[in-house]
């Protein structure tokens, strides 16, 4: 009976189709004042929807679901803003010029075992990888609007650590991330995968000396 129903339905359905999904998505456009190379605009609940502003600060994010969405504007190392935008299906929501206020400053401090390299560390804030690299002390500064965010640090060969971090503008906060050599055969490879800090040599036992 079910097969019959499906057959009849297929026969009746004919060909072609009508798709409303593009009509339920909109575009968000705006200009970030004084952008830097690190600037980033993120749809908070859908981090895969993000844009890096151009040199003049213009940005555009397409495919944003209609309705109220929260945008994180990470403008610089000190300024950040959270905006709520009403997105219309099929329409472009113009934000105009966004002037982010001073945000909460978060320092992410990454610790690794036995002088292994942190050069390839990947820091993800609210689901988006930030472009900024760790400094020699294994730190990176990020400005965020007040709120709680998932922060994740990953280094090849050493795995990843993720923490939920809450910040409040304009306060400063420092969070330590300690990456340990994982158990198992991969862990014994140590610096053969992650590399060593400058001045250290990777030994056959996987440690940097």
């Amino acid at each position: 009976m079910r097969a019959l129903f499906v057959s009849v339905a297929v026969l009746l359905a004919g060909c072609g189709g009508l798709d409303n999904s593009p009509l339920r998505l909109g575009v968000v456009r705006g200009v970030v004042l004084n952008p830097t190379v690190e600037s980033l605009v993120i749809v908070e609940q859908l981090p895969e929807l993000n844009a890096k502003p151009a040199a003049d600060g213009r940005f555009e994010i397409a495919g944003v679901p209609q309705g109220d969405v929260a945008l994180l504007v990470l403008a610089s190392g000190t300024n950040a803003e959270r905006l709520t935008v009403k997105v219309q299906g099929g329409a472009v929501s113009e934000l105009g010029t966004v002037t982010p206020k001073v945000g909460a400053r978060l320092t992410v401090h990454v610790h690794v075992p036995s002088n292994q390299s942190r050069a390839n560390a990947v820091v993800t804030v609210a689901g988006v990888v930030i472009q900024k690299k760790l400094d020699r002390e294994g730190e990176v500064d990020v400005a965020l609007p007040s709120g709680c965010y998932p922060i994740k640090v990953a280094i090849r060969g050493l795995g990843a650590v993720e923490k939920q971090v809450c910040v409040e503008a304009p306060k400063y906060r420092e969070v330590d991330f300690e990456l340990l050599e994982p158990d198992g055969s991969a862990g014994r490879e140590g610096c053969s995968v992650s590399g060593c800090e400058t001045g250290y040599v990777c030994r056959s036992n996987g440690s940097c000396e």
């Binding site: 009746l12 189709g17 009508l18 009509l23 998505l25 099929g90 329409a91």
Partner: protein, 543 residues
């Protein structure tokens, strides 16, 4: 038949044992007349007269008893009706509602063969009253009927017909020598009288159909049926009896059929009453198996032209330029070629030359069907919409459409019509996708369908209903800041076609059509079944 009997008997004898064992064939001596009578259709009649009701506000009928006597006599006559089983009911006890129904059921128990001929004749008062559903219904005033509560105490004609329909015979005729108009053999309660007085125009019988094969009424709905001192009978009954004596044998085949008898009595009653009483007939089945009321078919009859179709009521049937009868009814003609016309006043409905053979019966309705234009080409304008709000919001709001259709009437017989149609339109509209502003777009749609319908015709009106299948093509175009594109879908739709038309100036028609359909469109990647309704008005020309 006799030869068949003899051959069967010989075959049986050749197989039979000569001993006296059980199961052997028995040789019987049978004369030809006996064999014929054994296989002749049996004839049953229940003849009812209700001269007075217990409630004396219904005045006594003078001639109900004589009607019963005359009808039963002519039916029993060995040279006339040849009815072997004639039961008369006349006394107060025999004519109560319950007794009457019991007698009909007893008749049903006797007349069990399909070819039995069964006549139920009633001469009584008739009346009208509101039935249990509040509808005006006809009632037979039985001897125990109460004048103030006829619906509760009298026998409804519908109930009588239902009881009569339980008779297994397929050759039944119910003759109602009653009326329900308030005049003549009827008397109505005051409120029903007032209601009738306020009605204008002719009224038709409420029971449009009956499970009895034929219902012959002494008067049409709203007209009086009368007794007459001079005739000493109910007027219609007098002429019905006259027909059964053999005068009604229109085609001269030796038998008086129910339709022949009714036509005779109807015409005579109409003339006798100067047009005040117009007997009517509700004939459900008339065909090659007629109901013989008197005599038997002893020779092939003259060809007959007839019609009992309501739409031909009042038309004059002319044969070779001479008016033969007014329809409903029939006329016998000589075998050969004749020019047959149907006219009403100066208007000519049909004129055809036909060749008629001995014994042939031609329903002139067929000539009308043949002569009438049977192809209608129409321009149509209407609209369509999905049934559910969600589809109207998310797929396509209702829209207009214009197109053309061609309909072939009487394609597979007189009752069928086939229609092909195509329509389309376009415009701008907007979708309501929930949580956002309306999404504007433009659309174009096209539909093409084929429908097969069963049609009913009454005078200038036609109604039809039947299955339909159509194709629906829809294209939506969007030009939005965030999305531009075209989307197209095509689907087949099964459904129904309902409609009606009025014909005017003989060849023009105006029709209204409705198509409830089911369609399945792929929406957002999933098949979505949807109800779809299209409707249009059309102006057409028939040729």
């Amino acid at each position: 038949m006799t030869r068949l009997l003899i051959a069967t008997a010989c075959l049986a004898l050749s197989c039979a044992h000569t001993s006296l064992e059980k199961g052997g064939a028995v040789v019987v001596s049978l004369k030809k007349g006996q064999a014929d009578s054994a296989f002749e259709a049996r004839r049953f009649a229940l003849v009812v007269g209700i001269p007075r009701a217990a409630d004396d506000r219904w005045r006594a009928l003078q001639f109900a008893a004589k009607d019963v006597e005359d009808v039963s006599r002519v039916l029993r006559d060995p040279l006339g009706g040849r009815y072997q089983n004639v039961t008369t009911l006349l006394t107060e006890a025999q004519t109560t509602k319950a007794a009457l129904l019991e007698a009909v059921h007893a008749l049903a128990a006797q007349a069990t063969r399909p070819d039995d001929i069964v006549v139920l004749y009633v001469s009584a008062h008739g009346t009208l009253a509101r039935d249990g559903r509040g509808e005006l219904a006809r009632y037979l005033v039985t001897s125990d009927a109460d004048f103030t509560h006829p619906a509760q105490t009298a026998l409804s004609i519908a109930e009588l017909q239902q009881a009569f329909a339980t008779v297994p015979s397929k050759r039944r005729v119910l003759v109602l020598a009653t009326c329900h108009s308030g005049g003549g053999k009827s008397l109505l309660t005051e409120d029903v009288s007032r209601e009738l007085a306020s009605l204008k125009g002719p009224m038709r019988p409420l029971e449009e159909s009956s499970r009895a094969a034929m219902v012959l009424s002494a008067s049409d709905f709203g007209e009086p049926a009368r007794e007459d001192e001079g005739l000493q009978n109910d007027v219609y009954t007098h002429f019905l009896v006259e027909a059964l004596t053999g005068l009604g044998d229109r085609n001269g085949d030796g038998a008086v059929m129910a339709t022949e008898a009714h036509d005779w009595a109807r015409r005579k009653t109409w003339a006798f009453s100067n047009g005040r009483q117009r007997p009517s007939a509700e004939i459900i089945e008339v065909g090659a198996d007629p109901i013989i009321l008197s005599g038997s078919i002893s020779r092939e009859g003259k060809p007959e032209l007839f019609s009992y179709a309501q739409r031909l009521d009042g038309f004059a049937l002319k044969v070779d330029g001479e008016e033969r009868t007014e329809l409903p009814g029939g006329a016998a003609v000589t075998a050969g070629r004749h020019v047959v016309e149907l006219t009403k006043g100066p208007d000519l409905l049909v004129r055809q030359e036909v060749a008629l053979e001995v014994g042939q019966r031609l329903d002139v309705q067929e000539l009308v069907d043949r002569a009438e234009p049977n192809v209608a080409v129409s321009l149509l304008a209407g609209g369509f919409a999905f049934v559910d709000q969600k589809s109207r919001d998310e797929v396509l709001p209702g829209g207009a459409n214009v197109g053309a259709s061609i309909r072939f009437d009487r394609l597979f017989g007189s009752r069928f019509a086939l229609e092909l149609d195509g329509s389309g339109f376009g415009g701008g509209s907007s979708l309501q996708l929930g949580g956002s502003a309306p999404v504007p777009f433009t659309w174009v749609s096209g539909q093409g369908g084929i429908s097969l319908a069963w049609t009913w015709r009454w005078r200038a009106l036609s109604f039809w209903a039947g299955p339909r299948v159509a194709g629906l093509w829809v294209q939506r175009s969007f030009s939005l800041p965030a999305y531009s594109g075209q989307q197209t879908a095509f689907s087949m739709m099964p459904g129904a076609w309902l409609g009606g038309a009025v014909t005017f100036a003989s060849r023009w028609e105006f029709s209204l059509n409705l198509q409830p359909m089911l369609t399945v469109l792929t929406v957002d990647g999933a098949m979505r079944p949807m109800g779809f309704v299209g409707g249009w008005a059309a102006a057409g020309y028939k040729f």
